[in-house]
Symmetry: C2
Subunit: 316 residues, 2 copies
């Protein structure tokens, strides 16, 4: 094994996120190749000049022989199958992923005995479109990319994953898997659930309601335009954390409903929401510096800094 930062990147699953990562990595100077299960998807990537094959064992053997960094670019439901193949054909490769949930991926990686060189990742970027045709080398530019700092993380692999994410134009938020899942339940999965409920409520009003719909409805339902299978693959694996925040929000909405009914006021909800939006708009992203991967307590220190809203913009 080598720590050569220019070693290849092998993307497994070249849909919107994986495919965009392959584009971004190649644009940043990496040797990149990949695998895609669907033949038309692989062909579309090849037509654009990218080295993408439908032969998973062959791609993994090549990754093993070149010490490529493997990137799991598939949704959660396809992870287990991919890990089984990796355990067979490329068990020594460094490994990261771009899945929207981190605890279940970490569990699966451990089950397959692949955790020694695994570092979780989650670029907070996307569009309602999907597939190779939606890929964009600039998808991750100025985005936030969550990077795992779970116990036992291999510093050299971590640096390699961190470098790739930075080279894609993102800033990094170091985070433990469980905390990641709790946070994204609030700021990604709950927004998806609410968008679906809003879109359903809107169309139940018929052509008149949809005809009057403007900015608040358009923005509030945007992510409901994502493919249903993809939304489910994003949200359902995070059921435990999503259920907690969904219960919390149902309680808040029920209280608002009761307050509107009894007293004609939405005051407490509106005040809390306004305050939350202001917090979001005013959030700071202090740069995390002075931590050297591999040094004593580096994982704890990164987790603490990420918890405080900090981001990594350069590596030591």
């Amino acid at each position: 094994m080598t720590s050569d930062p220019s070693a290849p990147v092998c993307v497994l699953g070249t849909g919107l996120i994986g495919g965009s990562l392959l584009r971004a990595a190649v644009a940043a100077g990496y040797t990149g190749f990949g695998y895609n299960r669907s033949a038309p998807g692989a062909a579309a990537a090849r037509a654009d000049g990218f080295d993408v094959s439908g032969d998973l064992p062959g791609v993994l053997r090549r990754a093993a022989s070149t010490d490529a960094l493997l990137v799991l670019g598939v949704p959660m439901p396809a992870i287990d199958h991919l890990l089984a193949e990796i355990a067979t054909f490329a068990p020594g490769c460094a490994l990261t992923d771009v899945v929207s949930v981190k605890g279940p991926v970490l569990d699966a990686v451990r089950e397959h005995g692949l955790d020694r060189r695994y570092v979780g990742g989650h670029p907070m970027a996307g569009t309602a479109r999907s597939g190779w045709d939606a890929t964009d080398a600039d998808l991750f530019r100025d985005a936030v990319w969550a990077i795992g700092v779970d116990e036992g993380t291999h510093a050299e692999t971590w640096l390699r994953v961190a470098r790739l994410a930075l080279d894609c134009g993102s800033v990094l938020v170091p985070v433990r898997a469980e905390e990641h899942d709790g946070a994204v339940a609030r700021i990604s999965h709950l927004p998806h659930v609410f968008a679906e409920a809003l879109a359903a409520a809107g169309t139940a009003g018929g052509p008149l309601a949809l005809g009057l719909a403007a900015g608040s409805f358009r923005d509030g339902t945007r992510v409901a335009g994502s493919a249903p299978d993809l939304v489910r693959a994003i949200c359902e694996p995070n059921a435990a954390a999503l259920l907690r925040v969904l219960d919390e929000s149902l309680a808040a909405l029920t209280a608002a409903r009761d307050s509107l009914r009894a007293d004609g006021t939405l005051g407490p909800l509106v005040d809390a929401g306004y305050s939350g939006r202001v917090d979001f708009e005013d959030r700071q992203r202090p740069e995390i510096t002075g931590i050297a991967p591999g040094e004593h307590d580096w994982l704890d220190r990164y987790a603490e800094a990420g918890r405080a809203g900090g981001v990594i913009t350069t590596l030591p």
Copy 2:
């Protein structure tokens, strides 16, 4: 009284919507003047060359003497006071409004005996900003403008209001007050309520959650950045209709929560939401033609056409 379409427009309340309407009307060639309760707001409008005063009786006397079309540009809580002054100083003027709810305005107009020349209006446009500084002559361009077709509507006044809205660059959706309020509860007021709940849930996750927040959270909470008083003034007067759709959505979200908990699936909610968003994106806006204001059944025919998603883009 005259039906001169170039008769002045008098805007009462020159905040975001009223002020933008004054700008748009003047840009379209109308003589426009107005009133604003706050002296700094009136001064800001004057500094930009608009004829806005803080003297309500004076402004209303001028409106009466020039047969101006009065536009109620204030939020619902300030409507009653304004109508009382209009009943005193300009009871014969044609009257419209830009309030986000129509039933309560119509009731108040009737209480003050001003309904003979009243036609409700609601431009479906806005931003999270407010006040004269946020005004924009193009705010209504390509927007949808709901226009009342309630029983007893005066055809000549209706034409005058319709012409103003078209001259501001909007298309018109003819709608009865009660149906308007039911529809906007779904596509405007519920989105506001959901945005507030989402923003509150996000900030409850602390700096980590806000640091990871990206597009779905940003879009889903955008309207929570509106001033709390304004959001309440928009939503609370529509409590009856909002409570109905809020109950409906609470039931849908609770069912989704139960399904996720029991079976790990969000399938029914996601399918319904996706379908709703597709309905929204694919909605048609058939042009309403062949109805002459004042002819037999014109109000019923317009209401029916608006219910079917139709819009008025030109006048006979």
